[in-house]
């Protein structure tokens, strides 16, 4: 490890209450030929320094769109961030110009994509792509051996064996787990404040998944990076996250600590998701599954978006969208059932 980076890595960071990322009223819409999709609709959440936050939901609920919005890279040309604030380390990145934003990407905030087989460029060596990640955000000029040193360090950090040799490999010569580690190495090469992991283990073999999650945890302990896990898997949340945000059809329906969500889920959607997670301790005859599927493109109705699938639905659910209700210790949820039990939030 080079000296410039060593002090940071040696002392494990404590989790603090300092907010490294705060998202306020973010809206990202997709403008397609068939209409406008409110992929991310007015969501707010925050992330503390050194913390792990899960964003959970079924596929198509807007969690990936949230992730790319945080990088300010919604799919072009259809996607556009139309409102809100994303305050990263004290700066609202939605106010930056494109060039300023570029110096943030991979530097203060980076991301790991789902499919390691597709996300590395097939025609360049792993070393080449790592060195690019190292040099892109460097202010000072390094000579080649120094850059190679840093790239090798990054590989060592993600526990790649014989990193010097692996530098010369092409992606197709590596296994999926190894590729995903390389992607991880690139993501942390510039010591970002926030790391977004978009379903980082779904494309990996089951045996490798837990290994990769442990690796991310270790990296977090060493560097103090805050991690956002985008996942559909409550198992990952339980293992990795301090807090979690549950999304449904572009909206956040519930957020709280992992313990709160597991022990005391407030929103019927979260309750349903919890019921569909297999548990080791209990013997169940049949796993619960949620009837129906999330609302599709033309199913625009006022009212709660979960109404069509909700077992507790009533008339008001179908006509009016519920406000956020604040429960104990920062636990919030958006459901009419909580009226009278929790305090409605004012915003």
């Amino acid at each position: 490890m080079t000296n410039a980076q060593a002090p940071q890595a040696e002392q494990p960071k404590q989790k603090s209450d300092r907010r490294v990322l705060e998202v306020k009223n973010l809206k990202t819409y997709l403008y397609t030929r068939w209409g406008t999709t409110q992929a991310v609709d007015d969501i707010s959440f925050y992330l503390n320094e050194g913390e792990s936050l899960g964003i959970v939901g079924e596929s198509g609920c807007g969690k990936s769109m949230t992730a790319v919005s945080l990088m300010r890279l919604p799919p072009r040309p259809a996607g556009r961030i139309i409102a809100g604030e994303i305050i990263l380390d004290g700066t609202d990145i939605l106010q930056l110009n494109e060039e300023e934003m570029r110096t943030f990407r991979g530097n203060k905030i980076s991301m790991i994509l789902q499919d390691p087989h597709a996300s590395l460029n097939p025609v360049f060596t792993v070393g080449n792509q790592l060195m690019e990640a190292v040099t892109t955000h460097l202010k000072e000029k390094l000579n080649k051996p120094q850059v190679i040193d840093r790239a090798v360090d990054a590989l060592r950090m993600v526990q790649v064996a014989a990193p010097e040799r692996r530098m010369h490999d092409y992606p197709h010569q590596m296994s999926g787990g190894m590729k995903q580690r390389v992607v991880g190495a690139m993501a942390i090469a510039s010591r970002p404040k926030v790391l977004i992991a978009d379903e980082p283990t779904t494309a990996l073999d089951v045996t490798i998944q837990a290994q990769y999650l442990r690796l991310l945890r270790r990296i977090q302990e060493e560097t103090g990076v805050s991690i956002i896990f985008i996942t559909h898997d409550f198992g990952v949340v339980a293992k990795m996250c301090d807090r979690a945000v549950v999304m449904y059809a572009g909206k956040i329906v519930e957020q709280g600590t992992t313990r709160q969500l597991f022990n005391n889920p407030a929103h019927p959607y979260t309750q349903a998701l919890m019921a569909s997670v297999p548990k080791m301790e209990e013997h169940v005859e049949k796993l619960y599954s949620i009837e129906g599927s999330p609302p599709t493109l033309y199913n625009l109705k006022p009212g709660c978006r979960f109404a069509a699938r909700c077992p507790l639905v009533d008339d008001r659910c179908r006509t009016e969208y519920p406000p956020d209700y604040n429960g104990p210790d920062g636990h919030t949820a958006a459901c009419w059932r909580l009226e009278g039990k929790w305090q409605p939030s004012l915003s």
Binding site: M65, P75, L297, Y298
Partner: protein, 300 residues
């Protein structure tokens, strides 16, 4: 990336007639290419005897090298002017459409039939049949075919049938490759195996079970190749190795005009434009059909 479904606000489609609506039709359907193919190629080819103002082979010596009607010395008697023998350019272009259409249809049908059959055989029988057919395909792909075509024409003499033969022998390769590739996947599907168990003959399986599934590809290829066939025919005719004089092939007409380019540019200009417009339209048409019927061909 997983695109959030979320909620959609449908865009209202304008139902009334508007410039935007017309533009959308133009973008969605190949209006221009259809128009050109119809009015420059197909209709003139069919009705040449009715609509052409003069005889394509007999000229009037009194009106030799007269320019198009808008130029000084030109008249509406010969809209696009006349050539050295006093033959009307417009008439010859109209009759030329007949040659282009017939050559391309005949060449594509013959080449397509041979190529498709060989492609089916290669895919269906596999093994040494496949190896031999594909080696022959590779040989054809790596030969200077225009040169060979010249040799063939020199051996058999330039004629209508030689040109069709040359065109067909150039085209079959593409069909064989494409049909073989697609049949390989279809061959492994359930219904083929079922037909085999039921005791269907090889020919029956190939032509009744596999062929209907590659028919889209064949149609798209045929349209896409129409343009190149017309280009090839006109090039051969231009070089004197295609349709023999005095037949009004567009390529022959450009060759005639080449010698008079200083004094009478129109002789070469208009037939060349006809070639370009028709080939352009055929290509656009092929692209459109491919997108409609067979998007996976996009890489071809």
């Amino acid at each position: 990336m997983a695109v959030g479904t979320g909620i959609a606000i449908p865009v209202k489609r304008p139902s009334t007639f508007s410039p935007a609506g017309v533009w959308r039709i133009f973008r969605r359907y190949p209006v221009f290419p259809l128009f050109i193919l119809l009015f420059v190629l197909v209709l003139p080819a069919i009705f040449a005897d009715v609509i052409a103002p003069y005889d394509p082979l007999e000229g009037q010596l009194s009106t030799r090298l007269s320019p198009p009607f808008w130029m000084e010395g030109g008249s509406t008697a010969n809209w696009l002017g006349t050539d050295k023998q006093g033959r009307d350019i417009l008439t010859r272009i109209i009759y030329g459409a007949r040659i282009s259409l017939m050559i391309s249809i005949a060449g594509i049908v013959i080449g397509g039939t041979i190529g498709t059959t060989l492609g089916l055989c290669a895919a269906y029988f596999g093994g040494w049949v496949d190896s031999i057919i594909m080696r022959v395909v590779d040989t054809f792909l790596s030969m200077p075919l225009i040169l060979l075509a010249l040799v063939v024409v020199a051996v058999f003499g330039p004629s209508f049938f030689t040109v069709i033969g040359v065109v067909a022998s150039l085209l079959w390769v593409g069909y064989t490759r494409q049909v073989r590739g697609e049949s390989l996947t279809i061959k492994s599907l359930d219904f083929v195996a079922r037909a085999r168990v039921a005791g269907a003959s090889h020919t029956r399986i190939m032509f009744r079970h596999i062929l209907p599934n590659v028919v889209n590809t064949i149609i798209v290829l045929a349209t896409l190749e129409m343009g190149s066939v017309i280009l090839l025919e006109s090039t051969l005719s231009f070089l004197g190795a295609g349709i023999p004089r005095p037949n009004p092939s567009w390529g022959v007409m450009v060759a005639d005009g080449r010698d008079h380019i200083i004094a009478a540019w129109w002789i070469a200009m208009f037939p060349g434009m006809a070639i370009m417009l028709v080939v352009l339209s055929a290509n656009l048409m092929g692209d459109w059909l491919r997108d409609q019927l067979d998007p996976k061909l996009r890489q071809v």
